[in-house]
């Protein structure tokens, strides 16, 4: 496994108004890894992704990507550097077709060049989307919408893909399919995934970090975390 550090999050604190969501959180993602961020709801996982992709400015701390300090850059600049964020709850452009959603994923001039190839690649990965390319995104089923969201994220040709709760609201079968697709993608892109379904998430991850109340609780190889009782505690509060 490559040991190059792709993303380095260093002691970030973040607030919503006067509510502190993150308390000096630090972790790393190395190239070609799949890293899972675990923890109960409200633990700060989503906030963490928002800080990385520039949607939320941290109060203190640093985010480094490929050695470059990207703290405080705009989301547009960060996408351009190669971080794609697939937010929680899909967040498609509901009145556009599947294809238009993918095109907007490659809005950046850098990604526009290979738009056709990339669309074709995504349709190969998600054949279901190819069938529905002209359908308006708002009318797709939950599972299909998740596929569009992931495919749209990949259209910007990222080096790092941030996935927020891809299984949210999906049936176990669809969850399995979605995560299988993520595993497939992880061959070409580094993945940082937030997943509520712990076992499913850890199954595709190399390593995991467990967060509680905006702080790091445990970390370790996925295989080790699977057996860790601390996870159950973090989620169920027991």
């Amino acid at each position: 496994m490559s040991s190059e550090v792709l993303l380095e999050v260093e002691a970030i604190t973040a607030f919503y108004g006067d509510f502190q969501a993150l308390f000096g959180l630090s972790f790393q993602v190395r190239t070609a890894e799949v890293v899972a961020l675990l923890g109960g709801n409200g633990a700060g996982k989503t906030t963490c992704l928002r800080v990385i992709s520039g949607l939320l400015r941290p109060k203190s701390g640093r985010v480094r990507f490929l050695g470059q300090d990207i703290t405080g850059l705009s989301p547009a600049e960060i996408v351009d550097l190669g971080i794609a964020h697939v937010p929680e709850g899909r967040q498609l452009f509901p009145e556009m077709s599947v294809e238009e959603n993918l095109w907007l994923g490659s809005y950046l001039p850098r990604a526009r060049k290979r738009r056709r190839e990339n669309v074709a690649r995504m349709f190969a990965l998600f054949p279901r989307l190819a069938e529905r390319r002209r359908q308006v995104a708002g009318t797709l089923s939950g599972g299909e919408q998740q596929m569009v969201a992931i495919a749209r994220g990949m259209m910007s040709e990222p080096k790092l893909l941030l996935l927020d709760e891809p299984s949210l609201g999906l049936s176990p079968k669809l969850t399995e399919q979605t995560l299988a697709a993520v595993r497939e993608l992880s061959k070409v892109v580094t993945v940082l995934i937030v997943e509520q379904k712990v076992m499913e998430g850890l199954e595709i991850a190399d390593r995991g970090y467990v967060i509680e109340n905006g702080k790091l609780v445990t970390e370790g190889a996925a295989a080790v975390l699977v057996a860790d009782k601390g996870i159950r505690e973090a989620y169920l509060g027991l």
Binding site: S53, S74, P75, A76, V79, L92, M96, E100, A111
Partner: protein, 287 residues
């Protein structure tokens, strides 16, 4: 037959209404901002076209593109200087700010050009053409055609260009648009400027058939609200259709009742739609 004539007249005016309202719908769709200065920008467009014609002999028909471009720049400036500062603030402040801008523009026009009514006389304006048994004023006809061209090209621009897609993207999901690399503030500025350009260009098209004076914009302001509400707030296609509907309604009101009551009917229609079908005549249910 006379009723058909009324409908034709309505459609001709409605084409221009469509262009005006489209601009307002665009701004509302992208920025959730109701631009109370829309009619004032239309007035500015009329003056620009007026002086373009009287000073430089620029025919407003092809000059409307120039007027649109000039107003686009003006819209950009107004966005960066003023509008940007109230984005994300309450409706209350946004509305008062745009109303303030409207008053400034109207007041400036009063200072610069006095309250006099001015008009240009194109040779076209006196000609009448026939369409089967119906007839229409050629100047209206030409304005209609150009307005429809404007609406169509705007529609195609939104549908097929990279920028148009980005604008629609921001309108449909402003929260996620930045993650595509779209600079939302920049897109908002462009949309605002496009909206202002629509109003200005439409102003140029109105010049051959109407007088211009500083307060000419305010009825159009209200009319475009009516149209935008008819078409479903923020729907650009809806606004185009709403424009035609309003034009025809006015034509028929003028024919069956009286010219002076067209606006009363406009507003009654407006209140009725707002109260009974707030998503507009064609809009889907608001999400």
């Amino acid at each position: 037959m006379a009723a058909l004539q009324a409908i034709l007249n309505g459609i001709l005016v409605g084409g221009i209404y469509a262009l005006i309202a489209m601009g307002m719908a665009l701004v509302f769709g992208v920025m959730r901002l109701v631009n109370f200065a829309h009619g004032a920008f239309l007035m500015v467009g009329m003056y620009v076209a007026y002086f373009g014609y009287t000073l430089f002999h620029i025919n407003p028909y092809w000059g409307c593109a120039l007027v649109g471009a000039a107003l686009f720049m003006m819209g950009m400036a107004v966005y960066w200087l003023l509008i940007r500062r109230v984005m994300g603030q309450s409706d209350f402040l946004q509305i008062l700010l745009t109303e303030g801008i409207a008053l400034c523009l109207v007041g400036a026009a009063q200072l610069l050009f006095t309250g006099d009514y001015r008009s240009i006389s194109l040779p076209l304006a006196d000609k009448t053409a026939n369409l089967g048994p119906l007839n229409f004023n050629v100047a209206y006809g030409v304005s209609f055609v150009i307005a429809v061209l404007g609406v169509t090209s705007m529609y195609l621009y939104m549908k097929y260009t990279e920028m148009g897609r980005a604008i629609r993207g921001v309108a449909q999901n402003p929260g996620v648009a930045p993650l595509m690399g779209i600079r939302v503030r920049w897109i908002s500025g462009i949309s605002f400027a496009f909206g202002v350009a629509c109003a200005g260009g439409a102003g140029a098209l109105l010049l051959p058939v109407f007088y211009v004076n500083p307060t000419i914009g305010s009825p159009y302001n209200l009319k475009s609200f009516v149209i935008v509400v008819l078409g479903g707030m923020g729907s650009v296609e809806g606004a185009a259709l709403g424009g035609l509907i309003l034009g025809v309604t006015e034509g028929l009101t003028a024919y069956y009742w009286s010219d002076s009551y067209t606006q009363v009917v406009d507003f009654v229609l407006f209140l009725a739609v707002l109260l009974l079908r707030p998503q507009g005549l064609f809009g889907k249910k608001a999400p």
